[in-house]
C-alpha cells in the first residue's frame, strides 16, 4: 500500500511539476465555465417564460445540473487523453521504466499507483465544478442527492477512461500515438450507440450497454443502478488487468 501511495504521489507531483496539470485544469475550467453559463442562461430564460400559477415547476436538478454533468463527461473525453498518454509512454521513452521495474515493486503496485495518481488529478479537476454547483445551492434550492450521485458517476466514468488510457499508453513509447489512440477509443466508446437502431434490437442493446457515457445518464438523474456500477467496475478492472498483461509481455519482449 505504501508503494502504491508513493507511486501515486510521484505521478501527481509529475503532473504539477510539468505544465500538464495547469493546462488541463485551466482549459477544463474555461470550457466547463462556458457550458455552465450557456445552460444557466437557457434555464433562466425558460423559467421566465413559465407563467406564474400555471402549475409548471422548474427543476434545477433535472433541467440544469443533470445536463451540466453530461457536458462535463464530453469535456473529460477530450481532456483525459492528455492526462493518461504519458503515464507509461514517457517512462518507456526516458528509460525510467527501468528504475520502476528493477525496484522491489510489483507490476500491480505500479499500475494502481499510476491509476490513483491520474484519478486524483481528475478529482482535482472535477472539484472546479463545485464552485458553480455551490453557487446553485447558495441561490437556489436543488436536491443534494442527485448531485452526489452525479459526481459518483463522473468519478466512475473517469476511472474507466483512465484505465483504458493506461492500457493504451503501456502499448507505445510515443506519447502522441498514445494520446491520439486514446482519444479515438474514447470517442468511439461515446458514440458507439449511435449506430444502435441499424443493428436491430439485440445489437442496439449491446452497443447501448457498451457506451461509456450512456451509463452516466442515470447517475446524473440521481439513480444508482447496480447495472451501471457493475459496468464501470468491470471496465476499470479489465483495463487494469490488460495493462498488467501488456507490461508483463513488454518485459519478455525486451
Amino acid at each position: 500500500m505504501r508503494n502504491i501511495v508513493t507511486i501515486a504521489r510521484k505521478e501527481l507531483q509529475g503532473y504539477f511539476a510539468s505544465p500538464i496539470a495547469y493546462v488541463v485544469l485551466g482549459f477544463f475550467a474555461l470550457l466547463y465555465g462556458y457550458f455552465f453559463y450557456t445552460l444557466l442562461w437557457y434555464f433562466d430564460r425558460q423559467s421566465m417564460q413559465v407563467a406564474p400559477g400555471s402549475g409548471m415547476t422548474m427543476n434545477v436538478n433535472q433541467m440544469l445540473i443533470g445536463p451540466v454533468f453530461m457536458n462535463v463527461s464530453v469535456i473529460v473525453l477530450f481532456i483525459m487523453p492528455m492526462i493518461t498518454m504519458r503515464t507509461y509512454a514517457e517512462e518507456k521513452r526516458s528509460g525510467t521504466i527501468e528504475l520502476l521495474l528493477t525496484s522491489p515493486l510489483t507490476d500491480w503496485q505500479i499500475i494502481l499507483g499510476k491509476f490513483l495518481g491520474a484519478l486524483l488529478l481528475y478529482t482535482v479537476m472535477l472539484s472546479v465544478t463545485l464552485i458553480h454547483v455551490g453557487t446553485l445551492f447558495y441561490f437556489g434550492d436543488p436536491e443534494w442527492k442527485p448531485v452526489a450521485t452525479g459526481y459518483l458517476g463522473l468519478l466512475l466514468m473517469g476511472g474507466c477512461f483512465i484505465s483504458a488510457g493506461l492500457l493504451i499508453s503501456s502499448l507505445t513509447k510515443n506519447q502522441i500515438v498514445a494520446g491520439m489512440v486514446t482519444f479515438a477509443v474514447f470517442l468511439l466508446l461515446w458514440v458507439i450507440n449511435w449506430i444502435g437502431q441499424s443493428l436491430g434490437p439485440t445489437g442496439q442493446a449491446i452497443v447501448t450497454h457498451l457506451s461509456i457515457t450512456d451509463h452516466l445518464d442515470d447517475f446524473a438523474r440521481g439513480i444508482i443502478d447496480t447495472k451501471h456500477l457493475v459496468y464501470y467496475a468491470s471496465f476499470i478492472v479489465f483495463g487494469l488487468f490488460l495493462t498488467a498483461k501488456s507490461v508483463d509481455s513488454e518485459r519478455w519482449r525486451g
Binding site: T6, R251, G254
Partner: protein, 329 residues
C-alpha cells in the same frame, strides 16, 4: 553473491546472450567487458530483474531473481546505461522517491538521501531539476539512486560514460571504495578502467563468455612466450646473429636502421628471465644498450584478439582455459 548459470536470452531467432555462466563473490568488483552489442546490457538487465531470461538461472544474495524478484531487487542497486531520471523532479525529490520505492524505512529516508547525495557529490545540486543537470551530474545522480538503499549488489552499466577525466577518476575511486562492502558488477568498454578498478574481468563477445580472469592473469596468460624489446646501437653488426646464441633465447627479430640503431624483439622460453644474459651479450659485443624492456600484451591487445575474429586464432590456446574454469567455479 551473484550466481549466473547457463544464462541465455533469445529474441526470436536472434541470440543476445548465449549460455553465460559466472559467479561474483561478496565484496568483489567484476568488470564486464565487450564490444557494443555483445550482450552486456542484456545480461545486466536479467541480473537486475528487468527482464526474464529465456534459459538459465540467476541468483542475487541467495534469491532467485525470477521466482523471488522482490527479495532480490531489494538487494540490488542498478544504474542503467542512461540514468533513469525524471526531468521535472529536483535531485532531492528524485532520490527521496527512489528511497521510498526501494523500501528504505520511512524514518531513515531523509538521512539516507542527504548521506548518499554527499557521497556522490551531488549535494550542491540538490534543488536543481534533474533535466537541467550536466551529463556528469546526471550520471552521479544515477549512481546516488543505485546506492540509496545500501544494496548488497551494485550493477552499473557504463558508470563512467559521459564524465570528464576528473570525474572519471572520482567515480573510479568511489567504485573502488564501494567494493568490499558491496559486490559490484560494472560494464565498460574503457579498458584501463577495468585494470584499475576490477578484481576480475569477464570478457563477453557475441553473447558468449570468452574469458574470465583477473586483469593481471589475463595479461600473463595470453602471452604465449616472454618477449623482450631491446634497442641497441650497433652500427654495421648482425645483431640477430649476435644474440641468438644466448642461452634460453628462442627467436630474435632485428630491424637495423641506417643510423646504426637496431630495434630487436627477443622471445625466450616461458618463465625464463634472460635480461641479464642479453645485457651481458650486448655489452660483450661492444654495442650500446639503449633500452631493454619486457613487452606485455596490454589489455587492449587481449581484448582485440579475443573479440576480433581474424586475430582470434592467435590466442586460441589460452582463451578456452579460463572460460571453462569460470563455468566450473
Amino acid at each position: 553473491m551473484i550466481e549466473v548459470q547457463h544464462l541465455s536470452k533469445r529474441y526470436g531467432p536472434f541470440t543476445a546472450v548465449d549460455d553465460v555462466s559466472f559467479n561474483v563473490g561478496a565484496g568483489e568488483i567484476l568488470g564486464f567487458l565487450g564490444p557494443n552489442g555483445a550482450g552486456k546490457t542484456t545480461t545486466m538487465r536479467i541480473i537486475t530483474g528487468y527482464m526474464p531470461a529465456t534459459d538459465g538461472a540467476v541468483s542475487v544474495a541467495g534469491y532467485d531473481v525470477f521466482s523471488q524478484p522482490i527479495e532480490a531487487k531489494k538487494r540490488t542497486g542498478y544504474l542503467p546505461e542512461t540514468p533513469p531520471l525524471y526531468p521535472d523532479m529536483t535531485v532531492r525529490d528524485y532520490v527521496t522517491f527512489v528511497a521510498r520505492i526501494k523500501g528504505v524505512p520511512a524514518r531513515e529516508v531523509k538521512s539516507r538521501v542527504e548521506d548518499v547525495m554527499r557521497k556522490t557529490h551531488v549535494a550542491d545540486m540538490a534543488s536543481r531539476h534533474c533535466g537541467k543537470l550536466s551529463k556528469g551530474y546526471k550520471q552521479r545522480v544515477g549512481l546516488a539512486q543505485a546506492l540509496i538503499h545500501n544494496p548488497d549488489v551494485l550493477v552499473l552499466d557504463e558508470p563512467t560514460a559521459g564524465l570528464d577525466p576528473k570525474q572519471i577518476i572520482e567515480a573510479r575511486q568511489l567504485i573502488t571504495e564501494l567494493g568490499g562492502s558491496h559486490t559490484v558488477v560494472l560494464s565498460t568498454h574503457i579498458l584501463p578502467e577495468v585494470s584499475q578498478t576490477c578484481h576480475r574481468v569477464v570478457i563477453i563477445n557475441k553473447g558468449k563468455v570468452v574469458a574470465v580472469d583477473t586483469p593481471a592473469n589475463l595479461t600473463a596468460r595470453l602471452r604465449g612466450s616472454e618477449t623482450l624489446y631491446l634497442q641497441v646501437h650497433a652500427p654495421g653488426a648482425d645483431v640477430a646473429a649476435g644474440l641468438s646464441h644466448v642461452a634460453g633465447v628462442t627467436r630474435v627479430k632485428a630491424d637495423l636502421h641506417d643510423n646504426g640503431l637496431a630495434a630487436v624483439e627477443v622471445d625466450s622460453e616461458q618463465g625464463r628471465d634472460v635480461r641479464r644474459e642479453l645485457a651481458a651479450a650486448v655489452v660483450h659485443q661492444g654495442w650500446g644498450l639503449l633500452e631493454l624492456r619486457p613487452m606485455r600484451m596490454s589489455l587492449e591487445d587481449i581484448f582485440l584478439s579475443l573479440t576480433t575474429e581474424d586475430a582470434g586464432d592467435a590466442v586460441e590456446p589460452a582463451a578456452p582455459a579460463p572460460a571453462t574454469e569460470a563455468a566450473d567455479a
